[in-house]
Amino acid sequence: MKMVEKILARASGRAEVAPGEIVVADVDGLVMHDLSAYLTSKVYEERVGLPVRYPERVTLVFDHTFSPATEETADVLVHDRAWARRHGINLYDCGSGNIHHVVAHGGHARPGSVIVGSDSHTPVYGALGAFATGIGNDSHAGMVLPYGKAWFRVPETVHVMITGTLQPGTTTRDVALWLVGQIGEGGAVYKALQFEGEFVESLSFWDRWLLPLITIDLGAKCGLIEPDEVTERFVATLPARPGHEPLRGDPGDVSERWTYDVSALRPQVACPPTVGNVKAVEDAGGREINWAELGGHGGGRIEDLRLAADVLRRLPKHPDVRFNIVPSSRQVFAQALEEGLVAELHSGGATFFPPSTGSNQAVNMGAMSAGEAMISTHARNFPGRNGSSQAEMYLASALTVAASATQGRITDPREVIPDLTELAGVTAGAER
């Protein structure tokens, strides 16, 4: 059996399962943010109204709002808090960080487990060797909260083999964006994508994170990476919580394999209107930008802050660019303080925001006027997500975002930074 099949078989109490079968599996973790918790709680209280069977498996993170700007938003948070307390659900309040980074740092997702959430980027926990996928409010309300279970169709697995070594200036985030362009939005509908190969194995945990993150945009059900010593080392840093034995697929059990070589890859940018509109940065036209942001599901990691500090040490921020830094968790902010990165980035003209999901959908920040543009490490760029539907969002690596912040236009870091090999973590695997 393949890895995802083994996880679903164990969770549903079966000896084996096959792609296409419907199983009812035990759920180890349900994760929700401020918006999805509100909608889920409404359905749950109105239509189900049972006790939450395993409240310790349910985690709520306020990440879209770090400080309510309107009375209506404050009302939503008050409702969510009361609901979480009533049921004894884990709650991370405003200022905790991006939902998925908080859940990972908190040890709420572990190898071999089944994790669900309404947020469509929930598959990111596949970086830990978990089966993780996005499901809807009615799944949470109907089965996960009252019974600790969910139904799944066992997905077909495609092995995505990534080989080669990156050139300086190109990072794992560029690989992830490039794969969306290569495979195409909807190019892997309903599949499980298992990332493997020498390139993947060489990555640190937080760089592996960027690969399962994109699977939703390919239409896939989940993305997975087999747990190994890198995973074990990361898990050893987490708070102790109940978990499972890690599971790996049977060697040689491969039905379909797609292979990609990243050796010649150039820095990439996803241009509006969709995540799949990916180009090499140097072919993207150098559009003027008004905003740059490190944050969201795909950014605000300590690695991103180190790179940005390295860039601002070499080049001044462009006066017409607002450069937002949104640490992905309190742990990252604390680490950045300890390393002096907060002072350095602040002096370099960047603006720190509280740990949160930043400008994601402009709930608490990041609305743009018609004609404005932002380049960021966020996960989505559909028009209208950040204010005006005539504003533009470009998605790129932290390095490209920082380089662009210094030039006031979308910039290939290789154009402006001569000593790329000296940058923190710019070579894959350097931060293992």
């Binding site: 947020d119 996005g134 809807g136 799944s139 089965m143 279970k149 509908v189 896939a220």
Partner: protein, 171 residues
């Protein structure tokens, strides 16, 4: 609480394009509004006349990867609230696909459907049989078969009415 979900519908076809994200069906700043308000803006960018013109039983027809992006069920619920009888797409984003059956919104996947139907055509759809008939051209097109488990869920009015039984709980 079990709602009646009709497996057959007839009405006007409303055509929209490829890769329409769920957050363009219901924009984020509206997700907390009452459904009567949300439904007035459904798909406002993709088909500006849809929300005002849709009649009960009509059929929304989309291209590839309909409902990508955020997986929250509010998008499917808002489309159901327009009282369309069915959504047909070349294929759906999987969260939208799952949510549709769970909330009792009939949907059907038909490859290349937009070659067989124009905006405004009168059409009839049988979800369980997996067919769409264009009443203007007289052509019948076959869709991808839907898993019997999902058809059963749809007939039952969605996931919540069958959840306890599915979880092996007596209810």
């Amino acid at each position: 609480m079990t709602s009646q979900v009709a497996m057959q519908t007839s009405g006007r076809a409303w055509l929209v394009g490829d890769n329409i994200p769920s957050d363009q069906m219901v924009k984020s700043h509206r997700v907390f509004l009452p459904m009567e308000e949300i439904v007035r803006h459904v798909l406002e960018d993709a088909h500006p006349g849809f929300a005002a013109g849709v009649a009960p039983g009509d059929v929304l027809i989309a291209g590839r990867h309909f409902g990508q992006s955020s997986g929250r069920a509010i998008a499917t619920k808002a489309i159901k609230a327009t009282r369309v009888g069915c959504v047909v797409a070349e294929y759906f984003a999987r969260t939208f696909y799952r949510n549709a059956f769970e909330i009792g919104l009939p949907i059907l996947e038909i490859p290349d459907i937009r070659r067989h139907v124009s905006d405004g055509d009168p059409v009839s759809v049988d979800v369980a049989a997996g067919t769409l008939r264009n009443e203007r051209t007289g052509e019948t097109v076959n869709g991808r078969p839907t898993d019997p488990f999902l058809i059963e869920m749809l007939r039952g009015g969605g996931l919540i009415p069958i959840a306890a039984r599915l979880a092996g709980e007596s209810a």
